[in-house]
């Protein structure tokens, strides 16, 4: 039984960030432009917190006939996206200089609209549309500072992203041809029925893999995530990277029999990413680059249960919530860690100790310290994985998971060390502090009250 979709709230969730760039039309409105940054995701946040799921909204007049929806899986991702973007937005108010402020805000709004919209999308064209809007607009965030490094990273990002988009388009076209509908919900069955099923699966894995940092498609990520302004890095590595994951969960033939080899492939790639990224990350000096590698590593860990769900279709209903929970945990924690890089050391010793404690909290959460979001998410995921019947690599799984934890530890320590060397005394705008503190609160405290966790 579907709930009634709260149409006004849904419209506001997408339209507010989408139309917000119009404020840039007048130079005199730049104050409002900056101040509105943390408010943009609020309708979406209310939607994610309060609306009764599942609901489906048919928009037959939009594009090729659109369907928007919210279910428990999407709710997790919507919560993550809205929470992280609003805290990062608050942080950005205190972070941005006046140079190219309007340009940054325009791209921020568009990227956010894409990121929120794709979570709500129930059909291929809507998903692809919002995904593209996010991808293209995020380029503006990556190259914002205009340095040679940023421009190079931007170019690599754009080339990889375009190739990914093409893979997705081809995959979606083939899939739509096979199922004769545009609904994502019918996609899995359609891929199963299509003669080109393996080609479609490969295209979708690769297309979303670019965004999710799948090994060998990840090159752009350690370049682009760190060069963006810090609040943009946080949303890139916390929220947008999850769009690739969500794409996989919605589009791959999860729950259908006969995709074992692809599941196995993803499990192997997941561990390769998880462990390999640690090797590269531990050599980095910039704490943001360490974090980018850590994102690849953590995404690798999330890919493992995705592969398991593909390999063991019967067990997918247990694995999917575990994946969503882990994504929520990682997104919030990683956002905090990125935001911390732009902080300064306060003068008082007590405040400094407090600062390091708060920085350490999400880091320890990534490691799975008891009573953190990580402990819950990792525990649920591990349990779901180990309970999966006929899991590829089953006999090595506990060892591999321990190795992944070690990889996480290595990167977290490296990050802490590099941050220790980087942070300097000084002053920062209040909004920057509040953005970071709120993000940390979300990760450590609010997490436990979120509808998908309770």
């Amino acid at each position: 039984m579907n709930g009634l979709p709260p149409v006004a709230l849904i419209a506001a969730s997408v339209l507010l960030p989408l139309l917000y760039p119009l404020l840039a039309a007048r130079p005199g409105w730049r104050g409002a432009l900056r101040a509105a940054l943390p408010l943009l995701p609020l309708p979406a946040l209310v939607l994610a917190m309060l609306s009764a799921t599942p609901w489906t909204l048919e928009l037959p007049w939009l594009m090729l006939g659109s369907t928007w929806m919210l279910d428990e899986l999407r709710r997790s991702f919507l919560l993550l996206t809205a929470l992280l973007w609003s805290t990062a937005g608050l942080y950005a108010v205190g972070y941005l200089g006046s140079e190219h402020l309007r340009r940054f805000c325009v791209f921020w709004g568009l990227t956010l609209a894409g990121n929120l919209g794709l979570v709500l999308a129930g059909d291929m064209v809507s998903f692809y549309t919002f995904f593209s809007v996010m991808t293209f607009a995020a380029y503006g965030l990556v190259v914002h500072d205009g340095s040679d490094r940023a421009r190079f990273a931007g170019r690599v990002y754009l080339v990889m992203a375009l190739l990914g988009e093409m893979a997705l388009l081809a995959g979606f076209l083939l899939a739509a041809q096979a199922v004769d509908t545009l609904l994502l919900a019918d996609l899995a069955a359609g891929i199963g029925a299509s003669d080109d099923g393996h080609l479609i699966t490969a295209l979708l894995i690769a297309g979303f893999g670019v965004k999710a940092g799948l090994p060998l498609l990840h090159f752009w990520l350690p370049l682009a995530h760190p060069v963006a302004p810090t609040p943009a890095s946080a949303v890139l590595s916390g929220a947008m990277i999850k769009a690739g994951l969500l794409g996989w969960l919605l589009a791959l033939p999860i729950g259908e029999a006969g995709w074992g080899p692809w599941g196995q492939f993803l499990i192997v790639m997941g561990f390769v990413g998880s462990l390999g990224a640690a090797l590269f990350g531990m050599l980095q000096r910039d704490p943001k680059t360490v974090l980018a590698w850590s994102s690849i590593s953590q995404m690798g860990l999330i890919v493992v249960p995705v592969g398991a769900a593909l390999a063991a279709p019967g067990h997918a209903p247990v694995l999917l919530p575990a994946i969503a929970l882990f994504a929520l945990h990682h997104g919030l924690a990683k956002g905090c860690l990125f935001l911390a890089v732009g902080l300064v050391l306060p003068a008082s010793r007590i405040l400094r100790v407090l600062l390091w404690l708060l920085v350490a909290l999400p880091a320890l959460s990534l490691l799975g310290l008891p009573f953190t979001s990580g402990a819950l998410a990792k525990g649920v995921m591990k349990k779901a994985l180990l309970a999966t019947p006929d899991l590829p690599l089953a006999e090595h799984m506990p060892l591999l998971l321990q190795a992944a934890t070690l990889a996480t530890l290595v990167l977290v320590v490296r990050y802490g060390w590099m941050l220790w060397l980087k942070l300097e005394p000084g002053g920062a705008a209040a909004c920057r502090w509040w953005g970071w503190i709120l993000a940390t609160l979300c990760s450590a405290v609010l997490f436990w009250w979120l509808p998908v966790v309770r």
């Binding site: 007049w61 939009l62 594009m63 503006g140 421009r151 754009l158 076209l173 041809q177």
Partner: protein, 498 residues
């Protein structure tokens, strides 16, 4: 004479009479000329709107009379005709507004706008022509009326380009005429009809029909910029911006592409063309042109030249769609007739704005232009993204429909062509967009002019913004019954399921 016969004539006469009046007006009466121009454009838009509604409802607008024994002059409005007529009517209005602003204070405006109106009248005729003979008449009239526009500036370069243009197009005209005459000899006066004329034709004629097809396509391919007949197009760039906009988006290239659509669907019939094996070679030629145009565009430093090669590439999307056997492919090709027009006219308007306002003609001079001309640059950016096929813009709808058509026709290779072309489009458009927004202004603008509050002359400022809004809306509202996509689907349904 009944109303249904009067309306096609009125659509034609509105711009024909405007041309006569404008030629008659003295050079100095600018206001009156502008008024005549705009009234004619609005009148035609109204007539076309009424006719479109009528065709949607199933009214048959047609008029014909015999010119020579066996040769008749025939105007007829079917769904396909209204697709092209609608495009011309809408874009003519904006191009007129733009041209008035663009040519302010320049000499020979009377001559310019006279031929401008003639050109649009010819386009209307091409759209509404009911048989091959009438089509040919207006097709050649189009050639003759655009020549003075191409050479309007009167410089050596433009005269050279004009000479080239006339050689190519008249050559194409000869081939077309030969084909039409031959066909006339075989089958008599052929009105355009939705399933063609040769279903079940005598196999003994197949060889001749194939040769005639080649002649017709060669004649039409010149204007459509089909490789290797595209040589005139990049050179014709020396024309003033509104002319380029008209040549590339509406009149000339579209007349060629539209003619190919007519020949394939309404003369040969898609099933017969398919059975005769004519579609596949044409599909390959279109695919090659798509890639070729994009690759050549990569190396152009002149903005308008780059856009010209882009046109060569994009017009062949239409031809590719026609050759994908099946209604889905037809939808993709037909809808691109409109979509490409809206996007390309926006790009040319913008290129004209940069040239008129900043004196910028080359891509590398555009650094930082986004800060100086934000509205124009937003328009350019969206149109460029549309060309690449980024959703939800117009170009995406085309790409999706063509892709679906290619799969339905089991021509998977066409998808690869579309994807490669998208990447190439990105490769030559995105660097421009990058320069607009992310590069600092490098040097003073070559020739900057200021007009009060807006970033450019008001008559230049608004047309690209309106067409940009259109290219967003035709994508966003593609599923509604007023969209070009729905209209293309209507045509395809009538063509495949008569």
């Amino acid at each position: 004479m009944s109303l249904s016969a009067l309306l096609p004539i009125l659509a034609l006469l509105s711009s024909l009479l405007a041309a006569v009046v404008i030629f008659a007006l003295p050079e100095s009466s600018h206001r009156l000329r502008t008024l005549v121009n705009l009234l004619a454009a609005l009148l035609k838009l109204g007539v076309v709107a009424v006719m479109t509604w009528g065709v949607f409802r199933g009214v048959d607008f047609s008029v014909s009379f015999t010119m020579l024994p066996g040769v008749s002059f025939m105007l007829r409005a079917d769904a396909l005709a209204m697709l092209f007529a609608g495009l011309s009517a809408v874009l003519w209005l904006f191009t007129t507004i733009y041209a008035v602003g663009y040519l302010e204070d320049s000499p020979n405006r009377s001559r310019f706008f006279g031929f401008f109106s003639l050109c649009v009248a010819s386009t209307m005729g091409v759209a509404l022509a009911g048989n091959l003979f009438t089509f040919f008449l207006f097709y050649e009239m189009l050639t003759l009326s655009t020549y003075p526009l191409v050479v309007h500036r009167g410089t050596d370069k433009s005269l050279q380009a004009g000479r080239n243009y006339i050689i190519y197009t008249l050559g194409g005209g000869v081939a077309l005429l030969l084909g039409i005459a031959w066909l006339h000899g075989l089958a008599g006066d052929l009105p355009f009809q939705e399933t063609g004329h040769f279903q079940g034709a005598d196999p003994a004629l197949h060889g001749q029909l194939t040769l005639i097809f080649v002649l017709l396509i060669a004649g039409l391919g010149v204007k459509a910029g089909l490789f290797p007949l595209h040589g005139w197009l990049p050179q014709a760039m020396v024309a003033p911006a509104p002319v380029s906009a008209l040549l590339h988006a509406v009149a000339v290239v579209k007349a060629g592409a539209f003619g190919i659509v007519r020949v394939v669907y309404d003369i040969y019939g898609i099933d017969f063309a398919y059975a005769l094996g004519l579609l596949e070679p044409l599909a390959w030629l279109a695919a090659f042109t798509i890639i070729y145009g994009s690759v050549r565009a990569l190396w152009q430093t002149d903005l308008k030249r780059r856009l010209a090669f882009s046109t060569i590439s994009q017009v062949s999307y239409i031809i590719l769609g026609v050759t994908l056997f099946g209604p889905l492919g037809a939808v993709g090709g037909l809808v691109h007739l409109l979509h490409q027009g809206i996007m390309k006219i926006t790009l040319f308007f913008c290129a004209g704005n940069y040239a008129e306002t900043l004196g910028v003609h080359r891509v590398d001079e555009l650094d930082g232009a986004g800060a100086r001309m934000p509205a124009t640059s937003v328009a350019f950016t969206l149109a460029a993204l549309g060309m690449i096929g980024v959703p939800p813009l117009a170009g995406f709808v085309t790409k999706w429909a063509l892709g679906a058509g290619a799969l339905a026709a089991e021509m998977e290779w066409a998808i690869l062509v579309l994807l490669v072309s998208s990447l190439l489009n990105a490769a030559y458009f995105l660097p421009i967009v990058y320069r607009l927004w992310f590069c600092p202004i490098a040097a003073p603008w070559p020739a900057e002019r200021r007009w009060g509050r807006l970033e450019t002359h008001a008559w230049l400022f608004w047309p690209p913004l309106v067409t940009t809004l259109m290219l967003v809306l035709v994508g966003l509202l593609a599923a509604t019954f007023v969209s070009p996509l729905s209209w293309a689907q209507l045509i395809a349904v009538r063509m495949y399921l008569p």
